[in-house]
Structures are given as structure tokens and as C-alpha cells.
Amino acid sequence: MPAPSKPKTRWHIAVFLAPAVLVYTAVMIYPLFNTLRLALYSEVDQQRIWVGLQNFQTLFGDAIWSEQFWNALGNNAWFFLIHMLVQNPIGVALAALLSSPRLRFSAFYRSAIFIPTILSFVIVGFAWKLILSPIWGIAPGMLDAIGLKFLYQPWLGKEEYALTTLSLVSVWQYVGIPMMLIYAALLSIPDEILEAGECDGITGMSAFWKIKLPLILPSIGIISVLTFVANFNAFDLIYAAQGALAGPDFSTDILGTFMYRTFFGFQLQLGDPHMGSAIASAMFGIILIGVCIYLFGIQRRLRNYQF
């Protein structure tokens, strides 16, 4: 019987992990902690001084800042809600349609719907700005052609519509991602289960509701959390379409644009890296809380449902 050998140092693990760990630390972990640190300082007369949580107190307590902060957070929430209510159900529906064996040209539809996802947000922002423009856009003309001109509004220019319009543009752009993920999940459902269901008389729509949907719930959960993180980190589309002031009258201002304006400054307003970091930290906190709720509250329950 061979003597139990001393456990070998498995140094190759460290070597292979090192590049990723180093790069990740340099570009993600260090900046994150530095941002959190920066939020605890303030600049007075060109001197950086420690102020503790005072920046957060200003952000949440001072009316000028807190109004903007809650406005941005509320807009973020609405942005997220539209994605959850429109993008994800449409994504699931499209995936269900595409996975139907009787659908022809499904590869073509799949690509067509997925293409906007790979477009640059700058292109999407500017293209939609042009399409919806009251002056040069094709939207007023197209509505006119079918006799619905009265429905036309300068959607991106009115406080009450601008955010919803941009959310829907974002839905249009990214609906391909939940579609693809759900599609993959649907394809991975073993045929035996569906056939067993058929033997029990569950076919068509009820097969979807009773068998497929419960099986893809974990995927839907992952998509929801991805949507949440992406939406609360959003910045690019709003910036490309409405600029850093997130007009009209801050109605499309989200935490990302608010942070950008504060951190880097805008027009005459000078940048304030410390308040900017405080906002960034608040964003980080909100996302962290959201993801934790998902991990501990929802995912655990989802796992319990699984076999």
C-alpha cells in the first residue's frame, strides 16, 4: 500500500489565474475601491480633505442634490420597469415562436431581431433621434400616410414621453438578448419531458405554460438580474440621444448621466470628482442591494423548485 503522498502544491492554478486576477484588479477592483475612497473626501481651496460621509449627507439631504438624485433614481426605476414589462415578455414570446418547429425562416428572424443588439448605441441613439425628429424624421410622414398624423408628437422633446420613448428604443435594441438566452433554454428542454406531457394530454399552449415556462424560470431570473444591472448602469443611449443634460428638463436624467455631469462637469459647471464618486458609490450600492435581493431572495427559491 503506497504511503499517502504529500498533497502537491498546485502552482499552475495560481499561474493560470494570475493574468485575469491582475488585469481585473487593475481595471475593476482598484478603481472601484478608489471611487469609494474618493467619495469620502472633498476639495477645499485646492486641498483634498477628509470629510467622511458628508458628501452622502449632501447627496441625500441637501434639496438641490437630493431632488436630482431621486429624480434620476426614479427615472432609472421606470427605465427598468419598462424593460421588465416590455422587453423580457417580448423576448420570451419571440423565443417561444422561434423554437416552434413549424416556423419557417426562423434563422432569418433570429438574426434580424438580434442585429440591433450589435449596433453601437451611438448609431442607435442618433438613428432614432433622426427617425423621430419632427423636422427631418420619417415618423411624422409614415403616420401621415396611414392617416394617423394626429398621433404624432415630438416624443423626445416632451417631458412626459421622452423617457418612455428612450426606454422603448432601448427595448428595441436589446430584445435580442433575452430572446437568444430563452431560445437556448427552450432548446435544452429534453424532448422526453414534452413527450411525456403529450401522453398526459398537455400540448400546444398549455405545454408552454405548464412545462416549458417553469423550466426556463431560472433563465428568466438571470435575464432579469442582467437587465437590472444594465439598466441601473445605463448612460450611453440617453447621452447619445439627449446629451449630458438629459433633457427635456431632466426628464430622462438617470444616475449615469447625473454622475457624468457631476464628475466631469458640464458647460460652465466644473467637475466635482468627490460628489461624482459619491453618486457612483450610491449607484454601486443600489445595484449591490438589487443583486443581493435576487441571489438570496429569488434564486434560492428558484433552486428549490428545481429537481
Binding site: P134, P248, F266
Partner: protein
Amino acid sequence: MHKNTLTGLLFATTLLGASAATAQQAELTIESWRNDDLAIWQDKIIPAFEAQYPDIKVRFTPSAPAEYNAVLNSKLDAGSAGDIITCRPFDASLALFEAGRLADLSDLEGMSNFSDVAKSGWSTDDGSATYCVPMASVIHGFIYNKDAFEEVGVAVPQTEDQFFAVLEAFKEDGNYIPMAMGTNDQWEAATMGYNNIGPNYWKGEEGRTALIAGDQKLTDEGWVAPFRQLAKWGGYLGDGFEAQTYPDSQNIFTLGRAAIYPAGSWEISGFNALADFEMGAFNPPVQNAGDTCYISDHTDIGIGMNAATENPEAAMTFLTWVASSEFSNIFANSLPGFFPLSKADVTLEDPLAQEFISWRGKCESSIRSTYQILSRGTPNLENETWNASVAVIKGDESPEDAGQRLQGGLAKWYAPQQ
């Protein structure tokens, strides 16, 4: 073998020559927000300078106007900013000077070519140090389509009532959008709206300095009245003005679809290239015929030196040249609408630019109300004024409420208004 030696020698001398040349030649990079002017700098200004100073190469590298401050500040912090910095007037540049980013140019030869008012935009509050060479000011007013005015049979308005009568005439006629302006980008409403017509109501410098001293408030009639005028503009701006961008407005006007364009004189060179109808300009209409008129003649562009530049001598040479009358002449005529601030005599060739500058003779000049001192704190009065002007034009906020809100914001951080 012989051939090889020759090639080698030639090659060596070329290398030597090249390195000798680079050793002598300094390269200056200019930071600016005027990306519209790239061609003029490259084709006219820089060649004129390089012809005189062949040892100095100059590169003009502008960024987008709205992001300029942000971009410049991060570049300066990172130590990657250019040698020459185009300066915005007042606080943005003052902050850079106080942070030691801009060099003190008080002793620059040629600085005496500028009046104190011209230098005020780039001097410390007590006027003891000047850190940018004043380059140009811009004048506000209205540019109009002469053909359209003839077609509809209206005359250039002198008073407020005439102004609205003209707008009404265009609205009734229906062939032209009465006025080309949008509120999408927000700043036009304040810059071309509030600060364009405002000086007539707050009496130019008198009101502006009184506001800084705390003797007037933004809720006073002189400061609310311009909002009341703006509130009437909404009906004349054309369908969907809420989503109309600044370039949209420029296009609408130069395509001949609108009659009047609330302007800054910086539009002149761009419009000259695009419009194929004759343009004229009128100053902001006064309340009653015969009233003194006031215009916003805003010190807009200065140019200074990055304190951390590696080529301070070359940069000083360049700035001295910018302060000369030669530069003023080239600049004023290549960019009609940017009026030189130097005392040197400059002959303007462009008729529209002449029109604008002629108002300096008949009206009192002032600068934009929000630029000096009043936009130092949070909330920033300039940015707030954008927002308020838009809200008033759209009818979302009453002129009185707008004044109240701005005053509240200013009083938050500005001691003389508390």
C-alpha cells in the same frame, strides 16, 4: 560597393538632418472647443504664423463644445493637455489659473493692446493677474431672411410690439416658420433667448453689476420681464420645437424655411456658406421707440498657456503673435462674427458682421449676466437659466416662478444675495 557607401552616406545625412531639424523645431498643440473653426485654423491662421516662425509647428486639436471643460480638466490633471489652451471666459478659466494650470501672462508683450473690459474675462477678480490673451467677443441679436421679409411685406422691427407683429405676420402667411429655435439642447433658450433680449430689461451692465453686488434680485421686474417675452415665443417656434436641436434650427434657417433666427454673431461664417438668400441682422427690440438699446457683447474666447508646457518659449512667441494686430485682422476676417477685442484697428469685410458690430456704436454693451461670479456655486446659475428659459418657453413654468426659483438657487450659496 561604391554605390552602397553613397547610399549609406545619403541615408546618414538625411537622418542627421532630420534629427537636427526636430531638435530646433517646437511643436505646439492647441486645445479648443471651436471644432467649427478647424478649417480656418489649418488654412489661414496657422500658415500665417508658421510663415513668420518656421521653427514652430502648430496643431489645432478641438473637442466638442459642451464637453470641452470636462475633457480639458481631465487632460490637465493627467498631464496630457496641449501647450496652448483656449480659455472660456470667467470662472472656468479662473479656476484653472488658481489651480496653477494656466500660466500668468500679465507681462506678455502685447497685453497692452487690450482694454480692462476685454481682459476682465480672464483676469483675477482684483484684476492683478491676466492669464489668457483676449481673442474675441460675440454679439447677440437676430439674423433674418431678407427675401422672406420682402415677400411678406414686413419691416425690420425696432420695438417689442413690432417684433411680435412681424412674427404674427409670418404665422398668418404660413410659408415660413416665424422663428427658428428649438429647446432640445437647452442652452439656446438661455443664450440666444434670455441673454439676448435680457439686457434691454435689466439695463445691461447696470443690472448685471447690481445683481453681483446683491442690490437687485432675480425676482425684480428687470429680470423677470425677459422671461415674460420668452413665454410668448413658444407659439412662433414651429411644430415640435421641443425636440428641435441646435443644428436643426441652423438648417431650418439656412434652408430658407424660417424667417428669423435668434442668433449669436458666431453663426455668420457658417450661415454665409450655407444660405443662398440675403441675410440681415437687427438688434434686440426695445420696449418703446427711442429707448436706449442694450446688447450682449460677450467676451467669449481667450487663449492661454498650459503652465506645464514643455515649450514655454515657443508658446510665448505664439501668444505674443496672437496679441498682435496681424492676428486680429486674420482672425476677424476669417471668422466674421468673432469680433476682435484688441484696440488695434481692424477692417471687417463681411456685411453681416459689419451690421452686428455697428450696434456697438448705438447701443450699450454688456456681457452675459450669468457668466461672471454668479455661476461659481451649486446650483450653477447659468445651467439653471437654461432650464428655466426652456420651461418658460414651453409654458411649463410661469416667468415669475422661474425668477423665484433662480433667486432661491442663487441665494443658496451666494452671500450678497442671501
